[in-house]
């Protein structure tokens, strides 16, 4: 694995640790805010049900009260922020690696835009493009960084044959494939060749 990617992998693990720490801190803070001392004023003096003891009924009021809604809301905001963070942004060394590989094949003059959601779009001639969407597989997986590659729709009569002969498949007139990080350079090269043969 490339040194940049190994760095990115370490940063990603750090990100998970930061997220865990943030969840713990938010959990304690939210717990204090919503279940702290003022809660006793919210509870009435009289028990709601007379059959069970007042302690139980007061506890039930707390669990099904607005405090719990607020508490869960606060936690879900934290989880949502983390989910968005890891969906949207690739650790910067991995971005550097991807851009360097793509520039190495398409040249420095080709326009490559980077979009939110770990996506890269290489703009080719005549509105054709190639999308690279990076996914992080994480622990327990052989390939840490996986790219979902999709091209723009191509109209070539023998597209299927061209795709198969370069190790890709066709869906809706687009060449699609999955590449792992160590295949990114060699298979993108073949993709560029396939696109030339398909006449884009």
């Amino acid at each position: 694995m490339d040194a940049l990617l190994r760095h990115a992998q370490a940063l990603y693990k750090d990100r998970q640790r930061i997220a865990l720490a943030a969840v713990i801190i938010c959990f304690s803070a939210a717990f204090y805010v919503f279940y702290g001392p003022p809660i006793q004023y919210a509870l009435g003096e009289d028990p709601v049900w007379t059959i069970i003891s007042s302690g139980w009924s007061q506890g039930t009021v707390v669990v099904f009260g607005y405090s719990t809604v607020g508490f869960l809301l606060a936690l879900s905001v934290v989880v949502f922020i983390y989910a968005f963070w890891s969906w949207a942004f690739l650790p910067s060394p991995a971005t550097l690696y991807t851009m360097a590989v793509l520039r190495g094949i398409y040249g420095s003059k080709t326009q490559i835009t980077q979009r939110i959601g770990k996506r890269f779009r290489v703009h080719l001639e005549r509105d054709a493009y190639v999308d690279f969407e990076c996914r992080i597989r994480g622990r327990g997986s052989e390939d840490w960084f996986i790219y979902r590659v999709t091209t723009s729709a191509i109209t070539a009569p023998n597209l299927e044959a061209i795709a198969l002969r370069h190790g890709f498949s066709v869906s809706d007139g687009r060449l699609i494939t999955w590449m792992s990080n160590d295949e990114l350079h060699s298979r993108t090269l073949l993709l560029a060749k396939a696109l030339i043969l398909a006449g884009t």
Partner: protein
Amino acid sequence: MTEDTRRSVYELVQMLSSFNETRRAIIMALAHVYPKSVSGVQLSRLIGYSGKSRSLYRGVLAYLQDDKLIHIDELTPKLYAIRINSEHPLLGVLIGLCKEYGTEARAIYAKAMEEQ
């Protein structure tokens, strides 16, 4: 050798060299044992894979199937039969080459599959 075969062999070499080690090992092993199909455990033995075969299914095998290089048939929910796609234009050439020149290598693969 005709012009067409030479071209196919060139494209085959180019395609195989674009794959990473795991994919290459899988395709070479499956091309040699063709027309037999193998299970996930047998395949991980054939390619010297130390991880769980389950992670092969989730990763590289699913991608190979997407690119129409292999077929995965589900025999039972836990047992899969994996075989190479012999209708693929380049892999057909590879299978032919293996059949013609790969007798010894096939014997080695067969031995690796038999051992428990």
